[in-house]
Symmetry: C2
Amino acid sequence: MNEVVSPQSRSTQSANRWLSAFAAALARDDAAAAAALFDSECYWRDLIAFTWNIKTSEGRGAITEMLKATLATVRPTNWKLDGDATDSNGVTEAWFTFETAFARGKGHLRLKSDKCWTLLTTAQELKGFEEKKGPTRPFGTDHGIHPGRKNWAELKSEEEATLGYTKQPYVVIVGGGQGGLALGARLKRLGVPTIIVEKNERAGDSWRKRYKSLCLHDPVWYDHLPYLPFPDHWPVFSPKDKIGDWLEMYAKVMELNYWSSTTCKSARYDEAKGEWTVEVERNGKPVTLRPKQLVIATGMSAVPNLPSYPGMDSFKGTQHHSSKHPGGEGWGGQKCVVIGSNNSAHDICADLWENGADVTMVQRSSTHIARSDSLMDLGMGALYSEAAVANGITTDKADLIFASIPYGLLAGFQKPIYQEMAKRDADFYGRLEKAGFMLDWGEDGSGLFMKYLRRGSGYYIDVGASELICNGSIKLKSGVGVERIKEHSVLLSDGTELPADLIVYATGYGSMNGWAAQLISKEVADKVGKCWGLGSNTTKDPGPWEGELRNMWKPTQQEGLWFHGGNLHQSRHYSQFLALQLKARMEGLPTPVYGLGKVHHLN
Amino acid sequence: MNEVVSPQSRSTQSANRWLSAFAAALARDDAAAAAALFDSECYWRDLIAFTWNIKTSEGRGAITEMLKATLATVRPTNWKLDGDATDSNGVTEAWFTFETAFARGKGHLRLKSDKCWTLLTTAQELKGFEEKKGPTRPFGTDHGIHPGRKNWAELKSEEEATLGYTKQPYVVIVGGGQGGLALGARLKRLGVPTIIVEKNERAGDSWRKRYKSLCLHDPVWYDHLPYLPFPDHWPVFSPKDKIGDWLEMYAKVMELNYWSSTTCKSARYDEAKGEWTVEVERNGKPVTLRPKQLVIATGMSAVPNLPSYPGMDSFKGTQHHSSKHPGGEGWGGQKCVVIGSNNSAHDICADLWENGADVTMVQRSSTHIARSDSLMDLGMGALYSEAAVANGITTDKADLIFASIPYGLLAGFQKPIYQEMAKRDADFYGRLEKAGFMLDWGEDGSGLFMKYLRRGSGYYIDVGASELICNGSIKLKSGVGVERIKEHSVLLSDGTELPADLIVYATGYGSMNGWAAQLISKEVADKVGKCWGLGSNTTKDPGPWEGELRNMWKPTQQEGLWFHGGNLHQSRHYSQFLALQLKARMEGLPTPVYGLGKVHHLN
């Protein structure tokens, strides 16, 4: 009999064959044989399934080493292809599931000529400690009769009254923005007692208190929080107050222990007890919390970089960092100077101009500009868009596809997007350059998202301000530094003097370990080192190559100290893995960390 | 060549053939030919697609008549099967889509020997007035530069400050429980300016203020509100305060104009102007609203039936209707008599007993009892359960499947469920009868849901109280009436005297047109007549047969007056059709109502 084999099932067969060989090598603890199934250029990205770390092993040697260190405890089994493999441009892609001694996992592989080019392994849930959902959701009422029973509202009040006072939380999260909320929700579903400490009065205030015109720069499909997606009429770009209200609702509906109007004063770790002492002030009253784990989720953009120019003290007008800028209202007719040329600088300049101010932007170094429409189309469309939804790409799937591209390959994957963008918007870029604006596309032409990962800065997603620069409505001084601030002006390095009633320093933010310095100690901040950045050896992202974001969502050199942050996509996706790491520790599972990051930079 | 036809595609072919013949008959305006395609026993249920009404036409004659009256304006076209047909027990079932002059529709058909047994047609959206969702969702920010632009928060404040004062809403909904909220959300998405008037301080208070142990009696899969489903960890049976918080969140996230702490004092209709004058008191201040449409959504269980027994005035203890009963706390050791034997009576008795009270239930007439587990399994499992979710039955699909069974057939569909239940729980029912409890299964054995539809009463979904009756913990006096209330006791018709510190009258609720009597006038209430009930000619549901719930979610004899209510399933599903009826009127589409219900009963 002739068997008709479609190209589709040929890829599936090839993926199946690879997965079986791989599983067999792992089952007999043969790290070398497993590594030999990889291409000479190869990446294995692991999200806590093998390494209890977020770790990419690059090359056969690194993969062998990782397997030798982990196989004995991880004991992976039950590798199964999940759906059919697909083929494009000579690369076979497939999804699979697997188990380890402690977890159920999902993964993704890319084969080139039957050898593995990229492998992603992720732990999805801990065996015996699964989230209660769907068929295992709680019943809600205890049918039957229970004298003296407490109802939901009473149990909730009781938890609120005791947690942090007579009962200690296992985790304290400092910062109740999208990061703290997403992680808090995951921990809640995992049954990890957690308190979120937030200085503002209401969840969502960190958005509400920003400048008036602010909307999310990422589109809605990229921004869902875990468990409770936005309804399908939600706008593409959420206005700040609307997202603020959503976050406030989320904290309530997910029943998080959210301590608003609470300032974290200090934290110190007792190595012997393995416990933090966290001093907070809740509604003006001191409370001491003693969690085992401390998560800093105050935002990767939250320690303002305020420059120290000579003469700043003498300035007679108003000056503040962009994070403190309330908006352009009231500045009509006045002279405003904005130092900086990234997202906030552009948004603030446009808002001031809309309010009738005389605005000058000071561009000290080149900036990458991507028009919002083009970025949505070219950069996100395949995974996060209405079209992706229609193609059946759920948020979870999109997150995993994105995670499956190792950072070592990502820049290469990104470059064609920006080459296409440069072509599509050539006229726009021409006009910007003609206006004197210094453009770049990242040092290697890999564009916006790589800049975000490497340094968290250096770009503007254009939603209109660039046109104001092109047509001169926003005045531009580019390629200059600030020499000094005078009583009523800004003196630039080329000798120009810009009269100023208002100076906004849109000069960015420092590394998140600055928070550790503020809350814990400089010693601990230095011990942990710089957060964020890949070690790409480009501007503001010094090497050596790390291959993952430094210190984010994974163990640090400080026992019990974690950093959580990033945009809504990252808060959603990585909170899953951070939550599982914390849950595993609470339950006393062995969590030997492989490849804990070394510290190369203090901040 | 031999063509292999699977049974599956034979059904699909048969459904296709029927639909083509039907479409052709309608296209040539041949009502008789269309009706001839139906079986001698046949039902066509229409949700506003043909009739601008919620109307079931029963039999070929009624179908011919309906088509003759509607075809010329409806002009249905574009009938297409949606997916494959299925076959079971000689009945072919299929989904289809179609269009009318004004709407896009979905429908469902059941064929018996190639003739139509049941047909469902529903309007899903109005052409040119579709909800903005998915690909047509709003952008959220106006990219580009707009001097003096207002942001989302400012526009929202402006709407809140003007709507109802300098701008009039098109719709006023009286009552902000699940009914008002679901309808409000639909109207919001359709761009119909609406104010919801709610007497309580917070959305959800109508749940929060009930007795402490209350949980929803329907499971979570049945209870989703439109657009924003519960997350998948939501408990099966929502505790009252939790559902209250969800409703409060819903009002906020859906951006409804929700006037809490607002009492509706009166409403009158100006026939000439086609406008209501609605007097409300908002936070103690009078406001006059002038909507075109008035929706009463105060709950089908909201006009308490307080009985008038002789001697009630003389009672020295505490007495109140069940709707005013705060819970059993504080009644420990005291004598409590609960008059009634339906849901509230059972819940209240159990709660009092749990609090240590001496409780007697007075059962005046027989009651249908269904154990919660059995009801979930047998009665709801196919459409609303975790298993249904796993089978790909979305909430929308479940609602349409349920809607596809005409009320004329529903009792027949329900009977086997309750026969099975009687078998499964035979021991339980035996013990209840032994305790003296008078049981029934509905007059025709069709059980709980039919009782709900016919009279909205007469049953208890057992979550534990029945056991307390079986074992005598709750004392039972059954088959007796109340003769009179004395200073410290209840005197029953059999001469028994029950000493009482507390009397709870769990004696049910009146028809929703009682609200029209209170708010508008007795004249209008009488003009509109009884709400709810099918006309089944069983107890509390007098004939003639109506075949739909009287006056619910559809035009009434009073222009501009609508009734909305029911459980969460009904609030969700029927709000869609009520919202479309209101939107069509606002946009001035022709909405000729076919088969407006006659009034046979004043309440």
